[in-house]
């Protein structure tokens, strides 16, 4: 695999990470909470799809038709039962409860589906690719995922900008108390945001599972990739997650080009490098303020 090939594959892989990161970013933007169970909910979506494909013998794509609305319901219920109370109990509590959810989801999946590795079929497109030159091929499936990621992000952008629901979401994100004074039901808004976030997570989880094998412990891996994409792209920016996802994807494929074992490590290193750069910049600004004061 040539370097250019590695970079192109990384860009396409970035679409998957952006899709994973979308819901995480949305929930942080609206409620200022980071849902540690985000990756586990993505994985749950993959397992539910697996269940349908196994028992009803339908294709993965068809199985998404009931799974995605199901994920909306799960998200809505999650907000109304656990997250809403957590938000009220204090700033750190949502972290603790969503971490608890990771344990519950991972271990229940292990109980019902065994710790074995599973995979989801991706149809004929899964192995198709366009051969551009002898050293550059474009995998059709990854291109499809990138397209879906852009579609989802674009849809969310339009929803936030141009619909009544989007205006309510933005108003609540800016100032929930004032929004309530103006007659917006913040609790309902939060529940809708979580429902959308969990549905995008499930979608991402299913595509993740079509690309690579999964087992009950892969939820945290997906959370970490999603979070790295969010941080690299800039926390709270929807299109930033696409940039962050692509940077992460390129880091991983270029790292793997050096040595296959460096795939995950290279992504972590770029993420940590971004954190170090930000720490240096903030420490600089901190000292400057201190000197001026």
């Amino acid at each position: 695999m040539s370097w250019i090939n590695a970079i192109v594959h990384g860009i396409l892989l970035g679409g998957l990470y952006a899709l994973l990161a979308t819901g995480l970013s949305l929930m942080f933007g609206v409620m200022r909470i980071i849902n540690l169970a985000h990756g586990s909910l993505a994985l749950l979506g993959a397992y539910m799809t697996f269940l349908l494909t196994e028992h009803l013998h339908v294709s993965t794509y068809l199985a998404l038709v009931p799974v995605l609305p199901g994920a909306l319901v799960v998200g809505y219920a999650l907000q109304r039962t656990v997250l809403e109370r957590s938000l009220r109990a204090g700033e750190l509590v949502p972290l603790l409860t969503t971490f608890g959810l990771i344990l519950v989801i991972a271990n229940l999946l292990q109980y019902f589906f065994s710790p074995d590795v599973h995979s989801l079929g991706s149809g004929s497109i899964g192995s198709a690719s366009w051969r551009v030159s002898s050293s550059l091929t474009i995998p059709a499936f990854d291109a499809l995922i990138l397209g879906i990621a852009v579609f989802v992000l674009g849809g969310l952008h339009l929803l936030l900008r141009h619909t009544q629901m989007g205006r309510e979401l933005r108003a609540t994100a800016a100032d929930a108390d004032t929004a309530e004074l103006l007659g917006i039901n913040a609790r309902a808004v939060y529940a809708r945001a979580t429902a959308i976030a969990v549905a995008t997570a499930a979608l991402a989880g299913v595509f993740y599972a079509m690309r690579s094998a999964f087992d009950p412990s892969t939820g945290p891996t997906q959370l970490i990739y999603a979070f790295e994409a969010v941080v690299i792209g800039g926390i709270g920016s929807l299109w930033g997650t696409l940039v962050g996802g692509i940077v992460l994807g390129v880091a991983q494929t270029v790292g793997a080009r050096i040595d296959v074992q460096y795939f995950t490590l290279a992504g972590h290193v770029v993420f940590l490098a971004v954190l170090v750069a930000r720490a240096v910049a903030q420490a600089g600004a901190f000292r400057l303020r201190w000197r001026l004061a």
Partner: protein
């Protein structure tokens, strides 16, 4: 105890009550008695007690970070793993006495935590939590890529211990190391929280912005807690290695595994986040659950998760915090109380 307290007419400022003085003395006595356990009990009991001690140590350290610094970390297993692997590195590869290696490893963990703190403490809330998780993953990957440390299939320190000690002595010394580490950490944390810095840490816990606005050095306080928690978790890692001898680098239940965070969060939440005594009670609860219900497997972790979620929502002050509020109790006082004369 040089915290200046303004004299108010008709009000008496006190730290100690008769109950808390009696309890602290009793606790000191208990530790002294426990030091003789290797003479009194068999290997089974010692193995169990070692487990209890490192759980207490881990719970206190996680509470120091989250309860006093407001720093929820799901990556403290980074230091547990560093401690265990540093002992392997020093004692297996460089033939150092394994117990000396445990001490040195703790210092290595504390030293490594300083540059990590410099980067991670700029993050807040969930970003800090997952950032620390990535740090733990990075160390796990680095270790598993290093063939001399056993690579992905793990390693063992059996030889390093067996070369110098027979199994009975190894257990005895490990027991004392575990008791010593837990007791020293308890005393250090207690002294720290009662000092001037401790008063500012409790102010940070209660309201970070307000504390900063009255001149509390928030970053310094958090940095001290971070390094202390790192050293404590590293020490726990060295003890876990000496206790179970074989370790794996990758996977949820490995030495770098996230299940350690699950145990820490459970103990602190159940005991009482931000109370001094709570985590010790939480550690005892987890220890008893492991003894009498289950100590591994699917339902054990489902139980930990469900209880943690329930306690966080219904009983945010935990068992001890709730009792403390109701009965105005303080057994190991780190604050002051006002009483009318």
């Amino acid at each position: 105890m040089s915290v200046a307290v303004e004299r108010l007419p008709g009000v008496h400022v006190q730290r100690w009550t008769r109950t808390s003085a009696a309890f602290t003395t009793a606790l000191g006595g208990l530790v002294a008695v426990l030091a003789f356990a290797p003479v009194l009990f068999g290997a089974n009991t010692l193995n169990n007690l070692i487990q209890l001690y490192f759980l207490v140590l881990l719970a206190m350290m996680w509470n120091a970070l989250a309860g006093y610094g407001g720093l929820v970390s799901v990556g403290q297993q980074a230091f547990i793993g560093i401690g265990a692997y540093a002992v392997v590195f020093l004692s297996v590869q460089h033939s150092l006495n394994p117990f000396l290696a445990m001490l040195l490893a703790t210092l290595i963990g504390a030293a490594l935590s300083i540059p990590i703190a410099a980067v991670m403490l700029w993050l807040r809330g969930g970003a800090f939590a997952i950032g620390m998780w990535v740090v733990a993953e990075v160390f796990a990957i680095l270790v598993s890529l290093d063939a001399s440390l056993g690579g992905g299939t793990g390693t063992s320190a059996v030889l390093a211990f067996n070369l110098r000690y027979d199994p009975a002595h190894r257990l005895k010394y490990t027991y004392w190391a575990a008791l010593g580490a837990a007791a020293v950490t308890l005393v250090v944390l207690y002294a720290l929280l009662r000092s001037r810095l401790g008063a500012s840490l409790q102010a940070i816990r209660d309201d970070e912005e307000a504390a900063a606005s009255v001149g509390v050095r928030v970053r310094l306080g958090k940095g001290v807690l971070f390094v202390l928690a790192a050293a404590g978790c590293t020490a726990a890692g060295t003890i876990i290695l000496a206790w179970q001898l074989s370790i794996l680098p990758e996977g949820p239940d490995s030495i770098f595994g996230v299940n350690w965070s699950a145990r820490m969060i459970f103990m602190v939440l159940v005991g009482g986040l931000g109370t001094f005594e709570g985590p010790i009670i939480g550690a005892v609860v987890l220890f008893l659950l492991q003894q009498y219900v289950s100590n591994s497997g699917v339902w054990y972790f489902v139980m930990l998760g469900v209880i943690a979620i329930g306690v966080a929502i219904v009983l945010p002050r935990g068992v001890w915090g709730t009792l403390q509020d109701r009965f105005n109790l303080q057994l190991l006082p780190v604050g002051y109380r006002l009483r009318q004369r």
